[in-house]
């Protein structure tokens, strides 16, 4: 009797994972952001198989044509189809965003955790290095690193990742500092939990939300940075397309009213960045068990 009651009540309590999903799905801006991100991911990875045009095929007879039924987004200065290039370029942009943020979090996060949790001289060393890097503007640092590493999309992603790492170090350190003085961390030490488990089970879950939000925001910045590096010729190398290098070319023809070359990649950057930002905000709310 009691047992049956117990199981029935237990079933009524939703599992934590499905609750996070439920909250995420009820958050309208998170859904919009998620849809945008998923849509661009689909475009980037499925689009090339669907679109008939070759993004690098030039044509002297089709130079700088306005959008038409045969070329929906028009053609660029070498007669290449802008739609095909936007679709192929999405892959470079999304990859740059995801990979460079992954690099930044996996370098900056652990350093910040170590600095914040253990403190002392190790914190002093890590913090001074972080501050030195933060003294340089993010984009300038990325460009400098990119030019040292050499011009390629991979190097651009590494450069952006390293340049963004101190942002995560500082954030993680500050969060770890705040959380480690909580009573529950002292309680964890009181039961004899080793430091590594305290960090994994107590610190990380409690600082996860702000880092995730920061990651989506930096994702947006990284996409812009990749565009900037490609714009300068340090990222994706011609003739392979990327939104940044397309903007770079397109800007030369804006004054002649040939807007399509720069507008479509620009819209792509805008929507992807917007999508990541909205998704990040939604995730932050959904991951907090205290908010219903």
């Amino acid at each position: 009797m009691t047992l049956a009651l117990d199981t029935a009540e237990q079933a009524a309590v939703p599992a934590p994972r499905s609750r996070v999903w439920g909250k995420l799905l009820r958050n309208r801006s998170a859904v919009v952001g998620g849809v945008l991100v998923v849509a661009f991911a689909l475009i980037a990875f499925v689009g090339p198989f669907v679109i008939p045009d070759d993004p690098v095929k030039t044509s002297w007879s089709l130079v700088r044509k306005a959008p038409s039924w045969s070329h929906w987004f028009g053609t660029d200065d070498l007669g290449r189809d802008v739609l095909a290039r936007v679709i192929y370029g999405a892959r470079a942009s999304l990859l740059a965003g995801v990979v460079s943020v992954t690099i930044a979090v996996s370098i900056g996060g652990p350093l910040g955790l170590i600095a914040g949790y253990f403190g002392g001289w190790i914190d002093a060393v890590i913090s001074r290095c972080t501050e030195a890097m933060l003294a340089c503007p993010f984009l300038i640092l990325a460009i400098a690193l990119g030019s040292v590493l050499g011009a390629s999309l991979t190097n651009a992603m590494i450069a952006i990742g390293i340049a963004a790492a101190p942002i995560f170090t500082r954030l993680t350190r500050a969060q770890a500092l705040a959380v480690k003085t909580e009573d529950y961390v002292e309680g964890a030490r009181a039961i004899g939990l080793p430091d590594r488990w305290i960090i994994i089970k107590y610190i990380v879950p409690n600082i996860f939300a702000p880092i995730l939000v920061q990651a989506t925001l930096i994702m947006a910045q990284a996409i812009i940075a990749e565009a900037s590096l490609s714009f300068l010729g340090l990222g994706q190398q011609p003739p392979a397309p990327s939104w940044g290098s397309m903007l770079n070319t397109g800007k030369n023809f804006l004054q002649q009213g040939q807007w399509w070359m720069s507008m479509f990649p620009g819209v792509g950057i805008f929507l992807t960045v917007l999508g990541f930002n909205l998704l990040g905000d939604g995730l932050r709310d959904a991951l907090d068990p205290r908010e219903t």
């Binding site: 009573d183 529950y184 309680g187 030490r189 009181a190 488990w197």
Partner: protein, 379 residues
């Protein structure tokens, strides 16, 4: 009875401030504290906030390293143990924290929180641990079907029960409660105190309760240590301490307990001034700046903690010579015969209600009310 835990000359100095051109200020949070805890007793450590009582509790657990002094638990010097040895001992000593709203990890379910010590010590299979966790929840009076919820879904009293269940999970011998009820509502305080007392009986625990509330301490503890500004001023069994406090500071503390008697006007010996800064403690007896009986000697000479007989100790040069305290003032005057009768009747009501239900009270109420009236008239 044998000592389960012994503290010898515990000191904790914190350095604050200090830069390139200035010396850091040394705060003597705890300055030479020694005591022994007997197996099975409930020892209370009381004092105003800032007197170092929580720091002592944390040093006993080795959550903070003492500047000097040793803690011996069951004959083992905690300071001499390495990190691994200490970790093994951690199960035997547990702590219940003050604030139930910050002492539980908000990202872990109740089952994970309570079961973590079991997991850490690698006890049994996942299923056995789960069962033991649910059993622990029942033990502290929580419904086991709430095990998969998060701490924020519980009230303060329930959270404190979760904290207690977690402390019990590693089958400790000694539990240190750092103001375990002071963050709770008064009505909930009683429940949690009763729970702690029940558990103490049931699991043969030794309790150290750190508190600033003498009324709470009185119900629970066998012995009381009174601290002032980082050192012990008096140690005594609970009864004698309340009826006949030796140290002027203890007297002042006791006279500050409000007495719930209408029309009672006690002359209160309220302490004047603030508690001095532990960064710059007064010379001699640390209490002399606020002591109504202070003399020249108190300014110059630090009083030792002297034996006062019957298991009592006090750190005061003059405790034998002080004017006799109006004994047991905190207890109030003896009850008048009429009041005693009313109280007896009330107790009768309670037992009737608790044993036979509210209907029995209703049935019995008429004659009993007459008895009350009769009692009133005859007195």
């Amino acid at each position: 009875m044998s000592a389960i835990l012994q503290a010898e000359g515990l000191k904790k100095y914190f350095k604050t401030g200090g830069g390139l051109f200035s010396k850091p200020t040394v705060v003597r949070a705890v300055d030479g504290v020694s005591f022994a805890v007997q197996k099975g007793e409930t020892l209370a450590i009381v004092g105003e906030s800032g007197c170092g009582k929580s720091t002592v509790g944390r040093m006993l657990m080795r959550l903070i390293e003492p500047t000097a002094g040793t803690v011996t638990f069951e004959g083992q010097d905690l300071g001499a143990l390495g990190e691994t040895g200490l970790r093994k001992l951690r199960g035997a000593m547990q702590m219940v924290f003050q604030d139930p709203f910050s002492s539980l990890n908000p990202r872990m379910t109740v089952a994970d929180i309570v079961g973590e010590p079991l997991w850490l010590h690698g006890e049994g299979s996942a299923r056995e641990r789960r069962e033991k966790t649910l059993e622990l929840l029942r033990t502290v009076g929580l419904r086991p079907d709430l095990a998969d919820r998060y701490p924020h879904e519980f009230s303060g009293g329930q959270r404190q029960r979760i904290g207690i269940a977690r402390a019990l999970a590693s089958s400790p011998k000694l539990v240190i409660g750092d103001e375990p009820v002071s963050a709770l509502d008064v009505s909930i305080q009683a429940q949690v105190i009763n729970l702690l007392e029940d558990l103490k009986e049931r699991f043969a625990l030794t309790l150290i309760i750190i508190a600033h509330d003498l009324a709470v301490i009185r119900h629970m503890s066998d012995r009381v240590i009174v601290m002032y500004l980082g050192s012990i001023v008096e140690v005594a069994p609970t009864g004698p301490l309340y009826s006949e406090p030796l140290h002027p500071y203890t007297r002042a503390l006791l006279s500050a307990i409000p007495l719930p008697v209408p029309g009672h006007h006690a002359e209160r010996k309220l302490l004047e001034g603030d508690i001095p800064s532990p960064a710059n403690p007064p010379s001699g007896c640390r209490f002399h700046t606020r002591c109504p009986y202070a003399q020249k000697r108190c300014v110059d000479e630090v009083p030792a903690l002297r034996d006062a007989g019957a298991g009592r100790m006090a750190a005061c040069h003059f405790f034998e010579d002080l004017p006799p305290e109006t004994a047991g003032r905190a207890l109030g005057a003896a009850d008048s015969p009429a009041k005693a009768r009313r109280l007896a009747l009330y107790k009768q009501f309670r037992t009737l209600r608790d044993t036979q239900g509210p209907e029995a009270v209703l049935r019995a109420s008429t004659p009993t009310m007459e008895a009350v009236t009769r009692g009133e008239q005859s007195s």
